[in-house]
Symmetry: none
Subunit: 206 residues, 4 copies
DNA sequence: CATGAATGAGGCTTCATTCAT
DNA sequence: GATGAATGAAGCCTCATTCAT
């Protein structure tokens, strides 16, 4: 049976009972941890359910397949990240300030959700559509913010999407190198160097 | 049996005969194609040998395990990429020029070796050491080049490693977005935007 | 993955080596025994491979799925039954004689291949097409023989297909009752009674 | 726990309340439909309860196991078929007339209860005892009727049980071929051909 | 009476690896 | 050097059944 058929047949629980909600969440959290540590393929459903403290069969009450929980996880955490950044940067007017706070929030997020960071890269071979969606979606919002800053003259005019991908690439690689590999928040020295590069790169008055 | 034990026990890794060399290369090429298309886990040894036109057993005459051929591939292609960039930028003195040519060479490389690009991201969960080695090794050379440019005053002084990761992140994300997803070389407009950002970011005497 | 996709992907071994042929046959024989005893669903691949004396994985070298070996079995044994009847009745001119010999051959066959007899009934829910094919195919040949007998005036004229299904039904139920349930060949008394019914039913001169 | 132990332990099998009766019947009807369409094994308890519009747990309030509802269904429908035939042939004196009406009633029944017809064949591997009981029970009554007809000279004397299985086989196969596969009542031509065969086969004074 | 969440055994299938030829 | 049949561990998933509410 294909994943699609299964998903259709599946009474995708979305259970109403509080107990069900809790179980579903436990599975999601366990999945993040396990996928993060072992990677999508090496992680087994058994690993997930064991960590969640439920029986194997229970998994399929809430998710129709391994792929499905993975996709759900990516979507959910992606939402959470965007939300966190939006919250942290709300009220800020200066684009550079937004960049800095956004960056720090991102580093913070991947420290707390190491798993999700590692996971996304794998999505390419798990669900190519989801993988692209993740970045495109993020880039869209990013680019919009940059465009606004260009219009108000805060930064040099330019191709907002290209810029968005440049900035995402920077955040991603710095996060990988200094947060994930070093296992700590990047030193202020690193942050300052990155911000200096970005500030100059984006330009604007002065 | 562990991978390490197997590797030690393994004989006849480096065949001398020309025929052996050819078989080995066929396997490596097939592996790149298959890993690139399906991803490391979904690709089976059978896929590889079938594509290489040899029998299953033959695989183990040349590589002790699936991981091993993967690692070999990453190392080999990484070497090839660095070589290509070195060749292309040899003789160039201007750092910005080096950046531009390096970028274009990189885009060219991933167009020809889509597989390898996709593959590296997976390496994290196949062989974490290899994964980090890949980037660290590249970053080291990159940073050295940047340091030289700083010393000669071509670009602003700063933390060369951080800068290297920033630039690698940019190349990686732009390559993903405009080469891989669009399936073509990035338009000159995109390249110019990226270069403008880098030029300003790196600074130096106007 | 669907059965069809798998079958296509499957290098349906049809191995040439004598060893392979032997293994394939062992699996087929084991499957007949196991399906016959336990029924299609209760029979596991493990049951089959254990009985055949090979490892589980070996099964999939020769058959792409449980359904596939089942279908193969039905087809193969159906062919064997038709062949046996054709051989036994070759040279007979009298239709009644053909009926009698055919019946006895059939009883003999289901004694030797209890499994297959039991199995066919299940085919309806395993592979509906195969199930109908089995009976339709048999009926076609049967009806042709009856038509010839009608034309030569050996039996009363009539609707040959309907007659064929009547005669098949008789053979099937008598076989079930007296061969399978009693576990022996039907007594001559039973055979005579059946033949008397058929003789009168088919009519003809006298 | 074995089926037998469970059945003994099981309480509240025969609900007294009208509501309970209704639920039980809903389950039985749903089971007929589901077993008929998917077959015993492919049908799940969930399929049945979903179709019946009750919760999964409710099933076990009325039946101790999947096998049990299956057996109940076979028994119930078998009773219904025998009852229908008895009703339809009550008052008829001529054996041929009884045969004809019985046949038509049978065809009618399997049109209305396609499910049950298909189901019985599977019973062999679900509950062998039940399977044989079904046919033996039916044959017994059939044979008795034939014996009476022999004694009154309406048909040729002979082995009544053998004859009963012949006639059951005919009805079964003609029903399968012309009712189930064609999805309609058999044409009068088919019925006449069958009846002609039976009439001649049974003999009697002209 | 009824619910529906939870269980866990067991089935089919894949695939990296070994080995006899 | 090469072959390809064989192995068996391990994974995903289903489903009859139980149980707390």
């Amino acid at each position: 049976m294909s994943d699609i058929e299964r998903a259709q047949r599946h009474r995708s629980r979305r259970p109403v009972s509080a107990r069900g909600q809790r179980t579903r969440q436990k599975l999601l959290d366990a999945a993040e941890a396990v996928f993060g540590r072992k990677g999508y393929h090496a992680a087994s459903i058994t690993d997930i359910t064991r960590r969640a403290g439920v029986a194997q069969g229970t998994f399929y009450l809430y998710f129709p397949s391994k792929r499905a929980i993975f996709a759900e996880l990516v979507r959910e955490r992606s939402r959470a990240l965007r939300y966190a950044i939006r919250q942290a940067t709300a009220g800020l007017a200066d684009r550079l300030e937004i960049e800095r706070v956004g960056l720090l929030t991102f580093f913070d997020f991947i420290r707390k959700h190491e798993g999700i960071y590692r996971i996304v890269n794998q999505a390419e071979f798990v669900d190519r559509r989801l993988f692209q969606w993740y970045y495109r979606h993020f880039a869209k919002g990013y680019a919009a913010g940059l465009r606004a800053a260009m219009e108000s003259g805060q930064i040099d005019p330019g191709h907002s999407e290209v810029l968005a991908y440049c900035l995402m690439g920077i955040a991603d690689f710095i996060g990988m190198r200094y947060v994930l590999w070093d296992g700590s928040s990047p030193s202020s020295e690193v942050v300052e160097q990155v911000m200096a590069f970005i500030r100059k790169g984006l330009g604007g008055p002065r």
